[in-house]
C-alpha cells in the first residue's frame, strides 16, 4: 500500500470513473486500472464494481476510503508542517443550509478564496439533519447547520447568529392580523428537517395556533414569492429576506426576543484528520465572526 496508489483509488472513487480519474491525475487509463488492481491484489479484496457506465465502490471499498483520505491529508499536513505550507490545494466538500448559502457563504467564500486559492470548494445544500449525517459519515468535510445538538462525533463552532423574522403577505400589518384572516395558517418551509420549521411551530403554538398547513419548497425565492402572492407565511433569517430582490412584496415581522435568534454552526468530524484547507476555512469563519461582532 502506498500513497500515490491510494490517491488514485480515492480519485477514482470520487469521480466514479477510471478514465476521468486518469485525466484528473494526468496519466493514462490503463495506468489507473493497473494501480487499482494492484491495491486490490495486495488487499485481497475487490474495491470497485465495474460496469459499462464506470465504477462504483464495493462495501470493502467504502471501508477503505476514509482511511485513504486520512492518510492523504496526513501526508499533506506533514509536508506543509515540515517544508512550509507551499500552496494548499485540494477539494473541500462543504454542506450548508440553503439560507446560509445564499446570505452568508458568499462573503466567507470570497474571503477564503482571496487568501487561499488553489482549493476547490464544492457546496451542497440540505437540511441540518441531512448535512450532519453527511459529515458524520464522512461524505462532507464540514457543514453549516442549525441546532447541531451536541452530536458526540462532531466538533461545532458557532459561525453566525441569525435573526429570524416572519414574513407574511404585505397587506397584514401584524402576525395576529394574518392569523385572524386565515383559519388554518399556511406555512412555507424548506424541505422537511429544516430547523427553522420547529422554531416556527414553537412560536405559533405560543400564539395558540395548532395544526399547521405546510408547503415544502426548494428555493428561497420560491418561498418569498409565494408569501408575496398570499399563499402563507414563513420564517427566515433577516439577512436572507433583506437580500432578496422581492423583499418589498412581503411584510417583515420582528419576533419576540426569546424566539428571535438562531445560531448557525460550522460542524466538522471530531475524529477525522483535518486538512489544512479545512483549518484555513475555520480560521476564516472565526475571523469573519469577530468582524461581524465588531460591526
Amino acid at each position: 500500500m502506498n500513497l500515490p496508489d491510494l490517491n488514485v483509488f480515492a480519485t477514482a472513487a470520487r469521480l466514479g470513473s477510471v478514465t476521468r480519474a486518469a485525466h484528473a491525475l494526468s496519466t493514462v487509463q490503463s495506468n489507473v486500472t493497473a494501480r487499482i488492481r494492484l491495491l486490490e491484489r495486495e488487499l485481497g479484496v475487490q474495491l470497485f464494481d465495474r460496469s459499462y457506465r464506470g465504477i462504483t465502490l464495493t462495501p470493502k471499498g467504502e471501508q477503505l476510503l476514509p482511511y485513504a483520505q486520512q492518510m492523504l491529508t496526513l501526508a499533506e499536513n506533514a509536508r506543509s508542517a515540515v517544508s512550509g505550507p507551499g500552496d494548499v490545494r485540494g477539494v473541500l466538500r462543504i454542506g450548508s443550509l440553503q439560507s446560509t448559502a445564499s446570505a452568508r457563504l458568499p462573503e466567507v467564500l470570497k474571503a477564503y478564496a482571496q487568501r487561499h486559492d488553489g482549493v476547490d470548494i464544492s457546496i451542497v445544500t440540505g437540511t441540518s439533519t441531512e448535512l450532519i449525517d453527511h459529515v458524520v459519515k464522512n461524505r462532507l468535510d464540514g457543514a453549516f447547520v442549525s441546532g447541531a445538538d451536541a452530536h458526540p462525533d462532531l466538533d461545532a463552532v458557532t459561525s453566525f447568529v441569525e435573526e429570524l423574522v416572519m414574513i407574511s403577505p404585505a397587506q397584514y400589518r401584524t402576525i395576529r392580523d394574518y392569523l385572524k384572516h386565515s383559519s388554518v395558517p399556511k406555512v412555507l418551509v424548506f424541505r422537511i428537517g429544516c430547523h427553522y420549521r420547529r422554531q416556527l411551530e414553537h412560536y405559533l403554538a405560543g400564539l395558540g395556533v395548532g395544526g399547521l398547513n405546510q408547503m415544502e419548497f426548494g428555493t428561497i425565492d420560491g418561498i418569498i414569492g409565494c408569501v408575496a402572492a398570499g399563499l402563507g407565511v414563513s420564517l427566515l433569517p433577516r439577512s436572507v429576506v433583506e437580500r432578496s430582490a422581492r423583499r418589498r412584496e412581503v411584510r417583515i415581522h420582528t419576533l419576540p426576543r426569546s424566539e428571535r435568534y438562531v445560531e448557525t454552526q460550522f460542524v466538522t468530524h471530531r475524529a477525522q484528520v483535518r486538512s489544512l484547507a479545512l483549518e484555513q476555512l475555520t480560521a476564516v469563519i472565526q475571523s469573519d465572526k469577530t468582524a461581524q461582532r465588531r460591526a
Copy 2:
C-alpha cells in the same frame, strides 16, 4: 512521499542507526540511506544529523515522525479493516509506575501475549508526571499512571484500584506508635513526582505531622528493605507489599477509608490514531478489570 519510505524513516529514527534499521527491515544499508535521502530531497529538509555513532533526528525530523507514525498505523488499521485482522504485529511503547509494573503488569502482559503474540512491548517505568509527559509528546503509546488529572490531550481508563498501605518497621504496632518514637518521621519514597508521596503527606498532615524527612529510592525492594531496617516508613500498594519476599520484616498498617484507595489509570493520547495493538491492549486491560471486580 510513500509509506514504505516513511516506514524506513520511522524505523531508522527509532533505532538511531541506518545499519540497524537496514537489518530490522531486512534490506541493505545503502538502500536505507537512499530511501532517507529521497525523503529529504522530496521535502527539501534534512531529517537526520549524521555522525560517526549513528543518526539522530533533526527538529524537522522530529516534526515529521508523528505524522509518519500516524500514517503507518492508519495503513495497518486500513489493511485489517478491509482484509481481516491477520496477525497484528508491531511495537507498543508502554509506560508504567514501578509499583504497577511489578504487581499488576505481569498478569496483564501475560494475558495480552497469550492472545496476541507478534507484538513487541517495551515497558519503561517512571513517575506519573514523567510518563504523562511522554504520552503527550508521543514518545509512549500509553502508560499506567496515578492521578492523571484529566489532562485535556489524554484519554484515561481506570485499570486498577490499589489499596495503599503504610509500612513501618515491624516493632511498631500502630502508626501513632511509630510517630511517637521518631520526632521527625523519615519517609521512603520513589523518585520525586510520585503520586503516592502526596497521598502520604496528606495523611500524615492529618495526624498532625508536618515536615517530613524524605529519602528517595529507585526500587521497591530497596524501600521495603530499608523500612525493615528501621530507616522509616513508606506508603505502597498492598499488592506490591504482599508480593515482596521481605514482607514479613515490615508491619503493614491499613489506612482509613478516605485515604485508602488510589486508582491506576491507563492513559493514551486522544488525538493520535490508535494502533490495533493498542486497541487490543486496552481491551485486555478492561477484561482484566472486570475479572478483578468479580473476584
